[in-house]
């Protein structure tokens, strides 16, 4: 017992030492600042968007939404036990997918538009073929031992999931089996995002850390700290060199992947609500962050200033998404409505 404890203590000391070395390495390259780099950049002014459509159809809290790659269709998930696929040009509902389990927390559209996936407190990621005459369950991915918080398709044959069991997983949809399991977080994984080049992905968790992973090797390449509570939302910058996180600590942060550190924090003393979701405009200049205060606040990512707000929901904004063509933003809420703004 004593020998084990001694070995544990030695290993813990080694970990502490390594973390200190990582911090030192970060300090050593920290010779610039975002405020300096963006001082010469013109302000975006006030960003005032109009509410273009309110999509009504769900009967309970909306927990997730995801745009199709065509920037026209969008899928939403509600704890009324349904996924709804919308045509956002007309506002019409195209398809309703009834769920086996109503406790859904995440939904995703495959890039092809052929499949959608969802999951939640059932711990299962279910993949549906929506091109069939009526939505057909293609696969039930059942290996996580905790809730499914987020899922994203790489293609019609691979999907990434994040779970309350603290792991993320890459699945092969042809076999229904796990290909790679990503373990390193010590808290529930809440959110994930794929890099633009699909070689890596990032995850945010309740251990208040964001991690960058090699998709094929399974290793954690970088860990970003600074938040003081659960990270609920995470996204890559369009060029893949930076990431944005949103947390229950009411802050968003930008981490620079090449310098391996936080470069700017988006916070406001008047904002005392947790960040639930976030999305970036196509250039990355604007951050649309959904908060528990029923609003979606718009941040200038370079200047760190609040430049606008989307008000209109009667409850928490739970999900936010900008389509691939960048032509607007969708917010989904516990008030059961989705709103389209531009």
């Amino acid at each position: 017992m004593a020998a084990e404890k001694a070995e544990m203590d030695a290993l813990k000391k080694e970990c502490d030492g390594l973390r200190a070395q990582i911090e030192a390495a970060r300090k050593a390259v920290n010779d610039g600042s975002m405020s300096a780099a963006s001082s010469g950049v013109a302000s975006v002014g006030r960003v005032q968007l109009k509410l273009r459509k309110t999509l009504k159809g769900h009967l309970a809290k909306i927990y997730a939404m995801h745009w199709s790659a065509d920037s026209r269709q969008m899928v939403s998930a509600s704890q009324d036990g349904k996924l709804l696929i919308w045509d956002c040009f007309t506002g019409n509902k195209l398809i309703a997918v009834p769920l086996k389990s109503a406790w859904v927390m995440s939904v995703a559209f495959a890039p092809s538009g052929n499949l959608v996936a969802s999951g939640g407190l059932d711990n299962i990621c279910t993949v549906y073929n929506i091109k069939a005459a009526s939505p057909k369950t293609l696969r039930e991915l059942d290996a996580h031992t905790g809730y499914l918080s987020c899922c994203r398709f790489l293609s019609d044959t691979e999907i990434l999931t994040a779970s309350g069991d603290t792991t993320c997983c890459l699945w092969d949809l042809e076999t229904g089996k796990q290909k790679v399991i990503f373990t390193n977080h010590i808290g529930d994984c809440m959110s994930l995002a794929l890099s633009p080049d699909t070689n890596t992905f990032i995850s945010g968790a309740c251990d208040s850390l964001a991690k960058l992973w090699d998709l094929r090797e399974g290793a954690c390449k970088q860990t970003f700290s600074g938040h003081t509570s659960d990270i609920n939302a995470i996204s890559f910058f369009p060029n893949g060199n930076a990431i944005i996180t949103g947390s229950d600590d009411c802050q968003c942060k930008m981490y620079d992947l090449r310098a391996d550190q936080e470069v700017i924090c988006y916070q406001d003393t008047s904002l005392n609500a947790g960040v639930t979701s976030l999305a970036l405009s196509s250039s990355g200049r604007l951050i649309f962050a959904g908060y528990d205060d029923f609003n979606c606040h718009i941040w200038d990512s370079l200047k760190g200033e609040k430049v606008g707000v989307l008000s209109g929901h009667d409850n928490r904004v739970s999900c936010t998404g900008v389509p691939a063509d960048g032509m607007g933003v969708c917010t989904g809420s516990w008030d059961s409505f989705l709103k389209l703004w531009n």
Binding site: M34, S282, N342
Partner: protein, 67 residues
């Protein structure tokens, strides 16, 4: 981490060693390049370039004609 056993702790050490070994670039360069990249894309960002929002897919048709 309090409930970790020795193999898990060893894996954490390995992971930290791997993470320590990455190449870090000077933030004066990386942040400047990030700012430049974003600025370069602003003209193609429909939220920031009103020209691009003229053909607005979410507005009821019939109000504007696209020539």
């Amino acid at each position: 981490m309090e409930e970790w056993d020795i193999p898990q702790m060893k894996r954490e050490v390995e992971s930290l060693q791997y993470q320590l070994a990455i190449n870090r670039e000077k933030s004066s360069i990386t942040v400047t390049e990030l700012v430049k990249w974003i600025e370069g894309c602003v003209c193609e960002d429909p939220f920031l370039n009103p020209e691009l929002m003229r053909a607005n897919p979410w507005v009821e048709k019939g109000k504007c004609v696209i020539l």
